[in-house]
């Protein structure tokens, strides 16, 4: 099966797409029986050093409901200068600029190697990237110092013409005006008061002043933009100012009495940041970067009160619905996240504290807008410092590895429908012929908005085969999917990347082996994990686990080779061998999406330089813990390894090869044994 591995790898390299099934079952019934849904992992901005963008705009299918982009799968009549859309079969005239095409003079988008192609759009005003720092000042002195240094350093990494803004918060929220000479000026907001976007803009003076005054002086029509940019200034203009300002930043001066948490107005700070950008630069690439050192303790979005004697909500509180502030806070942040997404901005959260910081409530801010969420112990760690620095790394072209305000539009051939997407996106609610009624993930649409993305941002896209069993697809038929991603490149250009892929249909009855061989178990594990996580958001934890288990057992039943009721006879083909393990891992990890943990297993065996290499390649930077047997830090490791020995089975096994691992999780061995037993059981 080396060929399939190669195929998968090639496809990923070229198109940034990995399917769970690379040969598609040709009917709805069969597809459902495959257990693992037909789905793909799409990396819309997969780095393609060999793919220079073309300097023109894509040619679209003229059918209003289709508008697919001309691609190598289209049938072209060079003589008639016509092309047929491979999705809706509409015949389209080439635009006049294509007058000279012929078999030998093809535009790039028709060449097979350009299944992925990028167009550069010249239209529209380009506006600079915007970085709005939202900084918590309720930090320990050295933490704040480290953060200030990181922020100051970041100014040199930003694109010179990028706009930058600063909001600091503690008990109050301060929006700093950056263009002042001689006096530093900031607008201050109470940290406890929820303000509407309109109020915020009024209070910041962003709304247009009363007209009469302006009419008196028609000479300066451009006055308004000046006012709105008091808070957002080009880096090259104010980097000195801002460096000083950051340097003078003090810890929140309000006294924190014994037994209290500092009052931290994260909710209002974020709300103001969102409102500020909403009022000034809607639909322009912008990044709100929230740096916080603890949980929000007052105002809208508070996660815990300021009384230290009342601990922050624990897993038990959440489970018993005892987390007093959680629902309200989550609602607040969801509202903010949705607004931010609607504006095309994204929110990063950098939370560094030893205790919890309320990421659970705030996670939607990053999740819905494609922002980063980084969790660390302190801003004074390399984990944070290097992670933060890495955000501003550049690609081989010298461009920042970030993009903004993307919309992903998916077209499918008629045998397929789109069930949904799971990833850092929000639905744009575009209904269409290729939208399935059955939702998996964020469904009901063929378009999503991804406000912040980088070359590794990946979405899980789930499909539904709608072809009926009694309408077989001819042998050799292929299904096609087109991914059209509009986005703002870090160079501020608008670009469109179009990826059009096709896969073979196969009849399950006759070609199960084929399909089986084309199973991408890694992709499938990730896709199932995403589904599991997504379900966990809305359903009860145990139900999700049971669902995962059942899916696994069904998969094994379907693809394993075994004799009924004989667990020892169970075998899986190579392409399935890893999947159950991975699922076991995911199962343990609960529903937190924390891919960085995955590699500790490798770390365990790898030499230190291997570790370094991995550290360099990963984002966010993984927590790197150098430990030894019996060391206190070893708990991080032990919690991740396969618990082959626990306090439960230690004596039963009677072995003395190592310390027991204190966990209720079962070892892989037990898990596999049990799985096999269930898979072969006819009772299931």
């Amino acid at each position: 099966m080396a060929t399939y591995l190669e195929f998968i790898q090639q496809n990923e390299e070229r198109d940034g797409v990995r399917f769970s099934w690379n040969v598609w079952p040709s009917s709805r019934l069969e597809a459902t029986r495959m257990v693992v849904p037909l789905a793909c992992l799409l990396t819309p901005l997969k780095e393609r050093p060999d793919l220079p963008p073309v300097q023109y705009e894509p040619v679209l299918c003229s059918r209003p409901t289709c508008k697919a982009v001309l691609n190598p799968l289209c049938q072209v009549d060079y003589r008639a200068k016509l092309w047929a859309c491979n999705f809706c079969f509409q015949r389209n005239q080439f635009p006049p600029a294509y007058g000279g095409i012929s078999e030998v003079n093809q535009p790039a988008e028709l060449m097979p190697q350009f299944s992925t192609i990028e167009y550069m759009i010249q239209r529209g005003a380009q506006s600079p990237l915007i970085f709005l720092y939202v900084v918590d000042t309720c930090l320990e002195e050295d933490d704040l110092q480290a953060l200030k240094e990181s922020l100051q350093m970041s100014l040199s990494l930003l694109p010179p013409d990028a706009l930058v803004g600063l909001i600091t918060f503690g008990r109050m929220v301060q929006v700093h005006e950056l263009s002042c000479e001689g006096i530093s000026k900031s607008y201050v907001f109470r940290g406890t008061k929820d303000l509407t976007a309109k109020q915020i803009q009024d209070m910041l003076g962003l709304t247009k002043p009363a007209m009469p005054m302006q009419q008196a002086r028609p000479v300066q029509p451009q006055e308004h933009p000046c006012a709105s940019t008091r808070f957002l200034q080009p880096v090259h203009k104010i980097d000195m100012n801002l460096t000083d300002l950051l340097g003078e930043l003090q810890r929140d001066p309000w006294p924190v009495t014994q037994g209290k948490r500092p009052l931290r107005s994260t909710g209002v700070a974020l709300s103001i940041a969102v409102g500020l950008l909403e009022g000034t630069f809607p639909n322009t690439g912008a990044r709100i970067m929230l740096f916080t050192g603890g949980p929000p303790t007052q105002g809208p979005g508070m996660v815990v009160g300021d009384e230290l004697k009342i601990p922050i909500r624990s897993w038990h509180d959440i489970e018993k619905d005892n987390a007093r502030f959680m629902k309200k806070a989550t609602k607040h942040y969801e509202m903010l996240a949705n607004r931010t997404a609607a504006n095309g901005h994204c929110i990063d959260i950098y939370a560094c504290a030893l205790d919890q910081t309320g990421l659970l409530e705030m996670k939607c801010c990053a999740n819905l807008t494609g922002g980063y969420m980084v969790m660390g112990d302190s801003f004074n760690t390399s984990l944070f410092k290097q992670t933060f620095q890495r955000i501003f790394t550049k690609d081989f072209n010298g461009d920042f590895r970030m993009a903004f305000g993307a919309t992903l539009d998916i077209k499918t051939s008629r045998e397929l429908k789109i069930a949904g997407a799971i990833g850092p996106c929000v639905s744009l609610n575009v209904k269409g012929p290729c939208v399935s009624e059955n939702e998996l993930g964020v469904g009901g649409t063929s378009q999503w908005k991804i406000c912040g993305l980088d070359p590794t941002s990946t979405l899980g896209i789930y499909f539904e085969v709608v072809n009926q069993h009694n309408a077989p697809i001819p042998q050799g038929g292929r299904g096609a999917i087109q991914f059209v991603t509009h986005y703002q490149h870090s160079s501020t250009q608008r670009r469109i990347r179009v990826t059009t892929i096709a896969r073979n249909w196969a009849d399950v009855q006759s070609q199960l082996r084929h399909i089986e061989a084309a199973f991408d178990q890694e992709a499938a594990a990730v896709l199932m994990a995403r589904l599991g996580v997504f379900r966990a958001e809305s359903e009860e934890g145990p139900d999700v686990l049971r669902w995962l288990d059942r899916q696994l057992i069904r998969l094994c039943q379907k693809f394993g080779q075994y004799n009924k009721e004989d667990p020892t006879s169970f075998r899986l083909s190579d392409s399935f061998s890893l999947y159950p393990q991975t699922i076991a891992q995911w199962r343990k990890a609960g529903y937190q999406d924390m891919p960085e943990y995955e590699n500790f297993k490798h770390l365990l065996q790898a030499p230190l330089d291997d570790a370094q290499e991995i550290l360099q390649a990963r984002f966010p930077m993984p927590r790197y813990i150098n430990t030894e047997h019996g060391g206190s830090q070893a708990r991080f490791l032990l919690s991740k390894v396969n618990p082959s020995q626990t306090h439960n089975n230690l004596y039963a096994w009677g072995q003395e090869t190592g310390a027991p691992i204190l966990t209720d999780d079962v070892s892989l061995q037990v898990f596999m044994d049990h799985l096999k037993k269930l898979a072969v059981s006819s009772a299931c």
């Binding site: 001689g182 006096i183 530093s184 000026k185 201050v188 008061k193 209070m203 003076g205 005054m213």
Partner: protein, 1024 residues
């Protein structure tokens, strides 16, 4: 519109005997009948003809001649012009009682004639100035009521002079009644007998005020009694020409009679007499119930057991023993307490008593503080409280043996045993939360909206603060600027540059910073200077017109609260706060409300936001001083509420112009910042048994009936306290008052300031009347009336004032004065000038319901008066008018003041008038050129530029002397007076004339003489 408020003086028939018995016919305020009979002869009334008042104005034909009114017929004629060449003023020694001698004689050609009458005292007989009634009806004078202006309008103004003199006034001019009724020995005969002259000689007639601009001075030299009632009508009709004017002016020689202004009691005389007898002397407060010198008299006060009159003045120093007596006399029993009054350097400052942790010694029952009224007994082991009579043990630490007369041996060593006023160091029990207070802070809050930037005010304030802060005591300061949002400044000393923090959430304002807002000036000097330099530029381009106000106060208060200290806000504000925020105001200046029952609304705050804000401020020791720079209506009634209730001061500069008003404002600002002030104060007035404090007036807030709370109180603020009987008072023990003020000093020390005062009690009404102080009475009346303005129609208030005045005097007449003819006006010596002062109060713009007067100005003056002490209210209601041309450049003495009447002015004269708010330099058209040269350094009258508020510094004795005099007048006054140069017969003279309070007011308000007649009539009615 010419309102001829006061019209002709009734003719007085000289030969008519029995005139003296005829009652004054006009005193009737509001007697509608007068309206009906604008002119006419007063019919002869019976001897006690008071009853006749109502109908006494038969519309008789105007007397053809000036003097033909054979009897006391009076005319409420339209004609004011009657001249009363009457008796020259006779300032002879009089008894302490100066009843007006009823002058039975028909004519008093000369003052001397009165002497023939046996009655004692001056008299005012046959006050048939019947026109008075109608004058009262003139628009300003509400109480008289229904008389409409039109009725006075004298539409049928007779063209001929003769007709214009329809009613000659019959005024007995017995000015010099010398024989006091056995002048009480206690009182030096310091007052001249003032008498309203008896029946005027037939030739006396009221002289209408000379028409402005006409040769007033020349024709009527000041001494010439041309002070007929000033008629609004006449004045207003100018320059249109009062047809009769010239003729009348021509006609003085005619033998008409009028009441001689010089014959009515003169405030100036009273002041001068007191000054002459007591000025420059030492006044020792060793005797209970003694009457202090007048506020206008300079003397040295020595505390010998009772509080100095600088701290407490009473309406009477002898209380009636019973409440029945008090009711009978209707004399308010009140004390005007100015607990932080400035003590001149030649008097000893208050001693500070420190009992360490034990704190002040207090009566166990009534909690009165140890004071000279405590009686030590049982060899010094116990003491009896002078207030509640409770016998207390002397705390061991405080024990001292008694001497042979039962006095403690340390009597003279302990201020609290021997002095009327002293201070205690307060212990922690007296502090908020039992913690020593933090030192107070000052916060400067500058309106940086467009108008303030444009007129340069912001720059001026910032510049001034830089130098002024240098002089400040060690106190923390903070800065806020605002328009419709607030800007706080962080001026922490370690900052390279100030930080500005904008708070736009004015709906719910808060303090955005803690550290660095309130700073020590010395430490943060460079940052503060940096800030003050930048503020004017920072907002130079601002077009923001809208302002907020309540949030500004809120912010300052929150800042002080956060810093846990008391303090004072200095707010420099210019406009009606119309921006969307709490306390937003709309322009509600509705002139239609004037003179209706709803007029009080204009004095009430528009919203209750300010009321609750004031309460919060007081609760946190935050005093608000407001500098207002309005160019139009700003609703002073609303904006001024917080300053008033928090013991702050309100300053107002209408249409601020840099070159004219700069100095006045800067003086006020400097003075205010440097004022001696106590913060976070609570005052408690305790009294001995039998009476208690029932009502309080002033810049105060009261949450219960006894504790007077003040966020701050400075040296110029006075609280007027009214007392009522609970029970009988004893002549032996007298009536004792202890006023204790708990406060925080500017340096943050908690102290108690105690003032004790003992008053006499008597069951004789005469004693009561003997011990009254008119200046304090007027202070009380003004405050109670101005307080009532919020709740009652002005008309009612004016009626009450007139009635009470009449009642007080009638009671005296009935019970104390020697028998005399009913037609005599007899005034107790101590109340000789009560009518003139009362008339001034009634003529104050607050009580005048006239739409011409700015609503803001009325609210402003109302507020000022509420916190005034006796000296300030005296000057405010009766301005000081100094003839500058009589200046003796060799002497440092001020020239003797003259009465505030146009008749005292002369074309050749230069006069300086001051009332505590304004100062005028009036220049007669024929002012001596050498004076003009000396003062203005210009060759002639015509060259004088009146567009100045400061006199040039000319190196010449006149200039120096005048400026020195102005300095002396200004000294000790809480408000800097803006100088206005007024040339005779130029437009601004109109403003000046309003301050000639003995004349008829520009906007109505009767003349002194008219009012006196009115009161007389009321009295007569009461006596009947």
């Amino acid at each position: 519109m010419s309102q001829q408020g006061y019209v002709a003086t009734p003719p007085y028939s000289q030969p008519q005997p029995g005139i003296g018995l005829s009652p004054p016919h006009y005193g009737h305020y509001g007697d509608p009948s007068h309206t009906a009979s604008p002119t006419g002869m007063m019919k002869p009334a019976g001897p006690l003809g008071v009853t006749a008042t109502g109908g006494m104005l038969p519309p008789g034909p105007p007397p053809p001649g000036p003097h033909q009114f054979g009897q006391n017929g009076a005319h409420a004629a339209s004609h004011p012009q009657q001249r009363f060449p009457g008796p020259p003023p006779v300032n002879s020694v009089a008894s302490s009682y100066v009843p007006y001698q009823p002058s039975a004689q028909s004519s008093y050609p000369s003052p001397m004639s009165t002497s023939s009458v046996t009655q004692l005292g001056s008299q005012l007989s046959a006050m048939q100035i019947n026109s008075y009634g109608s004058s009262m009806a003139s628009p300003s004078q509400g109480p008289p009521g229904p008389l409409s202006a039109t009725s006075l309008q004298t539409p049928p103004r007779p063209p001929q002079p003769s007709i214009l003199l329809p009613g000659s006034q019959v005024l007995p001019p017995p000015p010099a009644t010398l024989n006091g009724p056995g002048a009480s020995p206690l009182l030096p005969p310091m007052y001249r007998p003032d008498g309203l002259s008896g029946p005027a000689p037939p030739n006396s007639q009221y002289q209408p005020p000379p028409l402005p601009g006409q040769a007033l001075g020349a024709r009527y030299p000041p001494q010439q009694a041309n002070s007929g009632p000033q008629m609004a009508g006449a004045q207003l009709s100018y320059p249109g020409g009062f047809p009769g004017g010239p003729a009348q002016l021509a006609g003085p020689p005619q033998p008409q009679k009028k009441l001689d202004p010089d014959s009515v009691p003169s405030p100036i005389q009273v002041i001068e007499n007191d000054r002459a007898s007591r000025g420059g002397q030492v006044y020792a407060t060793n005797t209970r119930g003694q009457i202090p010198p007048l506020v206008t008299t300079d003397c040295i006060i020595q505390d010998q057991g009772n509080a100095s009159p600088r701290f407490i003045r009473c309406t009477t120093y002898c209380f009636p023993c019973t409440s029945d007596m008090a009711k009978q006399a209707q004399i308010p029993l009140a004390a005007v307490i100015k607990p932080f009054a400035t003590i001149p350097s030649n008097e000893s400052p208050l001693y500070l008593v420190n009992h360490g942790e034990s704190g002040p010694v207090r009566c166990n029952r009534c909690k009165a503080y140890m004071c000279p009224f405590m009686q030590f007994i049982e060899g010094g082991r116990r003491y009896q409280c002078g207030f509640c009579n409770c016998v207390n043990d002397v705390p061991p630490f405080y024990f001292q043996h008694l001497d042979h007369i039962g006095r403690r041996l340390d009597h003279y060593e302990k201020p609290e045993l021997s002095l009327g006023s002293y201070e205690y160091v307060a212990t922690l029990d007296y502090c908020r939360k039992n913690k020593p207070p933090n030192p107070p802070a000052f916060i400067f809050m500058i309106d940086v909206s467009y108008s303030n930037i444009k007129n340069g005010l912001v720059k001026l304030i910032c510049e001034e603060l830089k130098t002024m802060l240098e002089k400040l005591p060690k106190i923390r300061v903070g800065f806020i600027t605002y328009n419709k949002v607030l800007h706080f400044f962080n001026v922490k000393s370690n900052l390279a540059q100030p930080q500005m923090m904008v708070v736009t959430d004015v709906g719910e304002v808060f303090v955005p910073l803690l550290d660095g807002f309130l700073v020590n000036y010395q430490e943060s000097q460079s940052v503060i200077h940096n800030l003050l330099d930048q503020i004017p530029d920072m907002f130079a381009d601002s077009n923001e017109n809208e302002t907020v106000f309540a949030p500004v106060i809120q912010a300052g208060m929150e800042a002080l609260k956060a810093a846990d200290c008391p303090g004072k806000l200095f707010i420099f504000h210019s406009s009606l706060p119309t921006a969307e925020a709490p306390g937003k105001l709309k322009n509600r200046d509705d002139k239609k409300l004037v003179n209706t029952d709803k007029e009080k609304i204009l004095f009430q705050p528009q919203t209750n936001v300010y009321d609750s804000l004031a309460k919060d401020c007081v609760a946190h020791g935050c005093s608000v001083t407001l500098f207002l720079f309005p160019s139009q209506y700003v609703d002073v009634a609303s904006l001024g509420l917080v300053p008033q209730l928090t013991g702050g001061t309100l300053y107002k500069y209408n249409n601020f112009q840099m070159h004219l008003d700069r100095q006045q404002f800067l003086n006020d600002l400097r003075n205010d910042i440097e004022k001696k002030i106590g913060f976070d104060a609570i005052m408690r007035v305790r009294t001995s048994t039998g009476f208690r404090a029932t009502d309080f007036f002033g810049g105060i807030l009261m949450n219960n009936t006894t504790d007077v709370e003040m966020a701050a109180i400075d040296c110029d603020k006075a609280v007027t306290v009214e007392f009522k009987h609970d029970d009988k008072l004893s002549e032996d023990t007298g009536a004792l008052i202890q006023c204790a003020v708990l406060y925080t000093t500017i340096s943050g020390q908690r102290r108690l300031r105690i003032h004790n005062l003992g008053l006499n009690c008597s069951s004789q009404l005469a004693d009561l009347y003997k011990s009254c102080e008119t200046d304090a009475l007027i202070n009380f009346f003004a405050k109670s009336a101005f307080k009532a303005v919020l709740h009652q129609p002005l008309k009612v208030i004016r009626e009450i004032l007139v009635n009470q005045t009449a009642h007080m005097l009638a009671c005296y007449r009935k019970n104390c004065a020697s028998p005399s003819a009913a037609s005599q006006l007899i005034l107790p010596d101590s109340m000789k000038v009560l009518p003139v002062y009362m008339n001034c109060l009634l003529k104050n713009c607050v009580l005048l319901s006239r739409p011409e007067i700015s609503t803001d100005e009325r609210a402003y003056q109302r507020q000022l008066v509420m916190a005034m002490g006796v000296a300030d209210s005296q000057l405010f209601f009766y301005p000081q008018l100094l003839p500058i041309h009589t200046l003796d450049v060799k002497s440092t003495m001020l020239p003797a003041a003259v009465r505030c009447s146009e008749s005292r002015l002369s074309e050749e004269g230069i006069f300086l008038l001051a009332n505590g708010l304004h100062m005028f330099l009036w220049l007669g058209v024929s002012s001596p050129p050498e004076l003009i040269q000396g003062i203005f350094n210009v060759p002639s009258f015509a060259h004088i530029n009146t567009d100045m508020t400061l006199l040039p510094e000319v190196g010449n004795p006149y200039s120096q002397q005048l400026r020195m005099i102005m300095g002396i007048i200004q000294q000790k006054r809480p408000y800097s007076m803006k100088l206005t140069i007024v040339k005779q017969r130029e437009q601004p003279e109109m403003v000046f004339r309003q301050f000639l309070v003995e004349d008829k007011g520009l906007y109505g308000g009767s003349s002194y003489v008219d009012f006196l007649c009115c009161v007389h009539k009321e009295i007569c009615q009461l006596l009947n």
